[in-house]
Symmetry: C2
Subunit: 492 residues, 2 copies
């Protein structure tokens, strides 16, 4: 019979007290190898603790090598083997150097991720930095209705593994939506992904090998640059001009450097807000087609056209099957559901489905079914109409505010939709980081331009976003921005 | 003024009729470059079709190069550029050879995936092949309650981007659950993944480079082998003995071949059903620790112990921080929500969180919140108790059925839990595939042993599963299996 006493007021947790006493009993030979410990239920009852506490204690004892447990029998006392005993106390020192065994790209990225982690913004700071749909506009009730209906009608099916290509009605709904944008595709030319980021990752896993070159706009979406680095790719920076990426430079790069693909954001380009014309898209596609270089078109804000007429996606004129289109719901509604997609030639989709099957078996079926219902019920289009109204006014407020408050020499883009515009400060004695900190001090948060390039530019630039600020906040933000930039200029 | 007529009874879709007529008007010079097309709303009303039909038609025209659209203005007629015109009709031929540009591992895997696609089973066939929680046991109502509560209390938060490490209360709940299994970890030593498969993929993305060696049991989980192949790794097969992987062979392999990690399934091993003893685990860990080789412990069925006492995970005695534990809900409840996790040293978790951030930004917050509530509300433990009862009886039925019906020379394992056992047929004139087809003809479906190895073994073997068959079906399945194997033996 083993006698244990638990000191209730002790700062040592109960499980640890049990451990220490049992170890003491074994070390003092009061318990011998082969002795049984009481079943967890029995011990728990006898010393008045929860059974999970005893389980935890037995687990620790086991980890320390003092216990053996065999299927269908009691836990039996044992003496720890020398190796474990010798090292048993040094928890936390570690035999593996995780930095050293990690993929070198991860090492670098990990440090980057830490460096880039946002500090929580002070409430008095106006946020013109964040590019993420405004939570205040989330159609929570509509979504709840879709969830309820989906669970009632298909509950069990939605909780089981699904097709790695995605929930079929959602593939249909997306194909239909793409057709509205002029892209004539069928459901089997669509694969559902866990957001646009995972879609890009999937494209790279299909096509890119370490060291491959990849043509991309510069500046461009910062998280795409991270992804390229993680895949150990070599970006070829094609500079952005006011009408889109420099096509002459693209042609030259395609010929001289043979990239495996071109990554481009033709609509409401992140970060500059530039939308290219049809003629630009046509020439871009012809250039890539003639060199047999696939175009990866990131249509992350396709739906965010609220001024004038939409230019259709490059994918809409992909008669040669060389465009991989990446789409997402996340920039208009519920990013937390992680729904993105790829529209691509069947041969390409088939291979990406195989990769999805190998790397994650199935997507989140419930989320996909809810998204499908959200589209089918008309809630999606109603939501778009609603946010278009809001963002159109916000963008007008931003353009008016900049016109009113910017000092001379500051330049900015005039987007036809989307959330972001690009602000060039011109000559400045303060470097970008210092200027960024100054703006923050003065109560306005923006995104430093260097997040979107590989080599920091000579003059500071910033991405401004209307995503998460109201019209009033935008107006006030522009005022602060103007005051701050003017004061810097005066002093320098 | 442009006049179009839509033939309502035509088999040509309305959008196509619009296209063809506009192309005709341009080609016959009735419409000249620079002419405006009517706004989509106006045209839709005037010819009596839905606006999306007109949008679709304009999209096609744009794709063919006959239309230009500019922000804020009408769609304008244009002549297609020669490049596009010359190739415009050959949709589907394609300038990209997707097979050739794809990563070579994907090429192979894609064909594999196609090859392995299951034919739909005939209803009269008893399914002793599938390893997936029985849908008939899904606790749909409990889950619905959790969903409803989560949406009511946290709706908006759950629809926005989340922490790439996972929803904090779920990390807590999992750390608590791991402590019940004797693994003393905190929430920040847990990262949530989209199922165990994505967890394994994440581990490999962190640690393995193409060509690296990886030690693994043989046979082992087939989808892990696919993942190794996809990552271009070289598995070192360590053969399974009745008490677990051959530790002498492991020691020799660690010394001679320097794998980057050991992948092991110590509980209810897939496919054999073998559970290793504490002594085995201790020696395995000591072997790996002394060579500084991380252990990846796949605890995919940790919770499925329903006979006797559980042996604690290897992770429970990881005093040196060298074990990466992979867990999942999917083998006990709602695989469609895709919730798995990794429990590992902080330094390792931190790096994996960075990779998750880079490759997918955030997990599915709603699904993670629902899983957390499912655990916190006690539904998870209640569900486990319920399915343990069911599967204990099923496994008893399976073991009794095999004892009664197997002809001499057939051998099988006797699992302490989980879903699967391993059947060695012994000498057989029929090869495994032929035997598999024969069994299928005779009304019982099993998993061919060759799915779990890289080199097909000399004698046929099969994985049997109790996951999706009732006790009655299992009894009848064993009868059919016995009859079929006996008849084959008599004839040969």
């Amino acid at each position: 019979m083993m006698i244990l006493t638990i000191e209730r007021n002790s700062r040592v947790p109960a499980y640890k007290q049990i451990c220490e006493q049992v170890v003491g009993l074994v070390e003092s030979a009061a318990l011998a190898p082969g002795d049984h410990l009481p079943p967890t239920r029995v011990l728990a009852r006898s010393i008045g603790v929860h059974r999970s506490t005893v389980l935890h204690a037995y687990g620790e004892l086991w980890a320390l090598g003092y216990l053996e447990s065999r299927p269908g029998s009691y836990s039996t006392v044992r003496r720890p083997a020398p190796t474990t005993a010798a090292t048993g106390q040094s928890r936390g020192t570690g035999v593996i150097d995780w930095a050293a065994v990690s993929n070198p790209t991860v090492r670098e990225e990990c440090e980057d991720a830490v460096r880039q982690a946002h500090e929580p913004a002070r409430p008095e700071v106006i946020d013109l930095g964040r590019l993420s749909a405004d939570r205040r506009l989330t159609p929570t009730d509509d979504l709840r209705r879709c969830l309820r209906a989906a669970m009632l009608e298909e509950g069990r099916d939605l909780l089981d593994y699904g097709d790695p290509a995605g929930y079929p009605p959602l593939r249909e709904a997306i194909a239909r939506r793409m057709r509205v944008h002029g892209v004539a595709i069928a459901a089997d030319e669509v694969i559902i992904t866990a957001g646009a980021q995972q879609a890009l990752d999937l494209v790279l896993r299909l096509m890119a090998r370490p060291g491959d070159r990849i043509a991309t706009e510069s500046p461009t979406y910062g998280a795409a640059l991270s992804l390229f680095r993680f895949h150990a790719l070599q970006p070829i920076d094609i500079r952005m001009r006011p009408d889109g990426l420099d096509l002459d430079a693209l042609g030259a790069a395609l010929d001289a450097q043979r990239p495996v693909l071109l990554y481009t954001v033709p609509n409401f380009h992140n970060p500059t807000g530039i939308t290219t014309s049809q003629a630009h898209r046509e020439r871009l596609l012809a250039l890539c087609e003639s060199r047999r270089v696939p175009v990866v078109e990131d249509g992350f804000e396709e739906e965010m056209k609220y001024f004038g007429k939409a230019v259709l996606p490059i994918k809409a004129m992909d008669t040669q099957g060389s465009v991989i289109y990446v789409g997402t719901f996340s920039k208009v509604v519920f990013p937390g559901l992680r729904i993105g997609w790829i529209a691509a030639p069947r041969e390409c989709v088939r291979r990406m489905v195989a990769i999805q099957g190998i790397t994650c078996l199935s997507g989140n079926v419930l989320a996909q079914a809810v998204a499908a219902r959200f589209c089918e019920s008309g809630s999606y289009e109603a939501h778009l109409r609603r946010i278009h109204k809001v963002y159109r006014r916000r963008m007008q407020a931003m353009l008016a505010g900049l016109a009113e408050h910017m000092p001379p020499g500051v330049e900015w883009t005039r987007p036809a939709g989307g959330y972001t515009l690009w602000l060039g400060v011109g000559k400045s004695r303060l470097d970008e980081r210092t200027l960024f900190m100054r703006l923050l001090q003065d109560g306005v948060s923006v995104a430093p331009g260097s997040l979107f390039v590989r080599t920091p530019p000579a003059q500071p630039s910033f991405r401004l976003s209307i995503a998460c600020a109201s019209e009033e906040e935008i107006a006030e933000g522009c005022r602060r921005l103007g005051r701050s930039l003017s004061s810097v200029r005066r002093r320098t």
